[in-house]
């Protein structure tokens, strides 16, 4: 069951769909130098039986942990065809079902197979497809409750804990609504990240939504005796992905934290200048270009209005 059944289904469908020569071509879509003779141990002057070739291929991709790529190739081929011809993988529905059993799911939105958690939760830090130790582009946003140390001194620990828990829950729901992920959280704030689609725009709109919903949060979910005020810093850049998000470090992440902590006043969102380049004019017009302690930033406050309004 599970992986072994998925392997069996895959090798069966591959052996029925491709002869050995086509299978060689097919898998070279991922591994350019993959040689089926080398893989199966058959001599060059023999014809490798389809079944043996398919089993060896499936086993190879599972063994080398390239399953995701392999499954993506199968799904992609089923939709786009192979060598200019449409391909029908027999039992494709059963394969998709078994994939889900094994923690893989085809995401129509992303148009690729992604990993899902064992509990069926698709909200993974890697969006289900990022590979460890590879460098990707992200848009990072750092959010922080202003004056945390004063609040901690002033209010009972349990009230602080509960209010901050509510705050994290509120930020998570807004971030995940636009397919962002929270990579780090330390009591009074954290780092949320966007990678899909128009990730800079998503990051900015999410930050605006968080900031503009603070009145609602403070009126309904804040257990302390005063409004929580937050500030947000946004910066786009690259980072080497790690499965343990706490180990991900990059200059862009560090800069995001600096922008938020050193250059942003309460109730304000700051965006680094190079990130603001990616914003539509319809949004950018509402930001104010400013220089804070020698750093050029774009800033916005809630309620949003143009300076000349």
């Amino acid at each position: 069951m599970g992986i072994s059944r998925l392997k069996k289904l895959l090798s069966e469908t591959l052996s029925r769909t491709f002869d050995t020569r086509d299978l060689q071509l097919f898998v070279r879509g991922i591994e350019r130098n993959l040689d089926l003779y080398e893989l199966t141990g058959f001599l060059q002057n023999y014809t490798i039986p389809r079944k043996d070739a398919a089993e060896a291929v499936v086993d190879y991709f599972f063994r080398t942990k390239k399953v995701l790529k392999f499954l993506n190739l199968i799904v992609f081929t089923s939709k786009r065809g192979f060598k200019g011809e449409s391909i029908t993988f027999e039992g494709f529905g059963a394969i998709l079902k078994e994939m889900e059993e094994c923690g893989y799911k085809y995401s129509p939105e992303l148009k690729k197979v992604v990993l899902i958690n064992s509990d069926g939760n698709e909200k993974r830090n890697d969006w289900g497809f990022l590979e460890e130790n590879k460098i990707y582009n992200f848009c990072f946003a750092s959010v922080d409750i202003c004056g945390n140390s004063k609040l901690v001194r002033k209010y009972d620990g349990s009230l602080i804990k509960e209010t901050y828990k509510n705050f994290k829950k509120f930020v998570s729901s807004v971030v995940e609504h636009r397919k962002g992920r929270i990579w780090r959280w330390e009591g009074d704030g954290g780092l949320y990240v966007f990678h899909l689609n128009d990730f800079v725009k998503d990051s900015i709109l999410t930050s605006i939504e968080i900031m503009s919903s603070m009145t609602l949060f403070n009126a309904t979910a804040n257990l302390l005796g005063e409004d929580l005020k937050i500030r947000i810093g946004i910066n786009a850049g690259d980072a080497e992905y790690k499965n343990d998000a706490s180990l991900i470090i990059s200059d862009a992440i560090q800069k995001t934290g600096e922008i938020e902590k050193k250059y942003t006043i309460p109730e304000t969102i700051s965006i680094s200048k190079h990130t603001a380049v990616h914003i539509d004019a319809s949004i950018k017009n509402y930001f104010i270009e400013t220089e804070v302690n020698g750093l050029n930033l774009y800033q916005i406050k809630i309620p949003i209005r143009r300076e000349n309004d």
Partner: protein
């Protein structure tokens, strides 16, 4: 009951003279041996005023003074009771941080009460942290609970109910109107209507009347006045996202909103036919007084607002003999990077 803690020697005369002085007052006197201060049992104390009997000299007692400061969470005023009448000694204690210095041989009921009252008055009036605590009570009690289970069908036709109607108007620039077709603008109104309906339902409200660019909503369930005002501020703040993200417009439309409260006639259907004084006043406030970019609330609404919301509104003027308060959108530039 106000707690007074006295730290004195074992057989101090204070244990005998103080209780009779304060017997008809609302004070609870606790006597402790001063030596026990040095035994750190980890208990944190919170009495309002603390008295320390000076032993032989300042030098001998100053350590006890520091122990008191460290033991009390609330940092109470500490009154020194001493038999030393030298000015130099008084100065040393005051520099140390004592709030008063009483002489044993001159101690009377009036002097004692005067000193206690002064200390308590100082705490209440001048200590900013105490003011914050007082204000916090209002703030904490002002937490708004959004209604979850509500059924508009439970209201009866042609009956009057206490409600908070909200009027909301979207305005377009002439330039904007010339750039879009009539059907596009109707589509925009439709999308805005759907969004208003979706958001207001989270606050227990619903659209009562909608005519192109203007909408009247009603709030009846739960803390309906605060829910209507909170909806107003929330919608106002999110309006940017609605225009840019949902409607995909190049600019943010002009929005104004008015909120009133009072006895409204309810009818499930033909809501546009309903007339009542509250609705009439609301429409007057919106059309004749309010301007784009503002939320105007009537005096009735403002008076019932939670402390968490009332701070966002400021008095703007009078209209038809009633005070009007406006949601302030001014930017506070006094904040600094923390």
């Amino acid at each position: 009951m106000i707690n007074l803690d006295f730290y004195c020697s074992n057989d101090s005369f204070l244990t005998k003279i103080i209780p009779p002085f304060l017997e008809d007052c609302d004070f609870l006197c606790n006597f402790f041996e001063v030596e026990k201060l040095t035994q750190n049992n980890g208990d944190r104390m919170n009495s309002e005023v603390v008295f320390l009997e000076e032993d032989d000299s300042f030098v001998c007692s100053s350590d006890f003074f520091e122990n008191i400061i460290s033991k009390y969470n609330n940092k109470p005023p500490i009154i020194i009771i001493s038999s030393n009448n030298e000015v130099f000694n008084v100065v040393k204690w005051m520099r140390k941080g004592a709030s008063d210095y009483l002489l044993k041989n001159e101690l009377t009921k009036d002097i004692l009460l005067n000193s206690i009252n002064d200390s308590l008055t100082y705490i209440k009036k001048d200590n900013p942290s105490c003011n914050i605590l007082d204000q916090n009570e209002d703030y904490i009690n002002g937490r708004i609970v959004l209604p979850t289970n509500f059924d508009w069908n439970s209201l009866l036709d042609n009956q009057y109910y206490e409600m908070a109607p909200v009027m909301l108007t979207i305005n377009f620039d002439k330039d904007f109107l010339s750039r879009y077709s009539k059907s596009s603008i109707e589509k925009i109104y439709e999308n805005i209507k759907n969004e208003i309906s979706l958001i207001s339902s989270k606050f227990g409200g619903r659209i009562w009347v909608s005519q192109n660019n203007s909408f009247i909503l009603s709030f009846y369930f739960g803390d309906y006045i605060n829910c209507s005002a909170l909806f107003g501020i929330y919608f106002f703040n999110r309006f940017f996202l609605l225009c840019v993200e949902k409607l995909k417009l190049d600019e943010v439309l002009k929005l104004k909103m008015s909120i009133h409260a009072g006895n409204c006639l309810f009818h499930k259907t033909n809501t546009e036919q309903i007339t009542s004084d509250v609705i009439n006043s609301l429409v007057h406030i919106e059309n004749q007084y309010n301007t784009d970019g503002n939320i105007a609330v009537s005096e009735t609404v403002y008076k019932n607002l939670s402390k968490r919301l009332s701070k966002f509104f400021s008095f703007e003027g009078e209209f038809e003999g009633k005070k009007i308060y406006i949601f302030s959108t001014s930017r506070d530039s006094s904040s600094s990077v923390l």
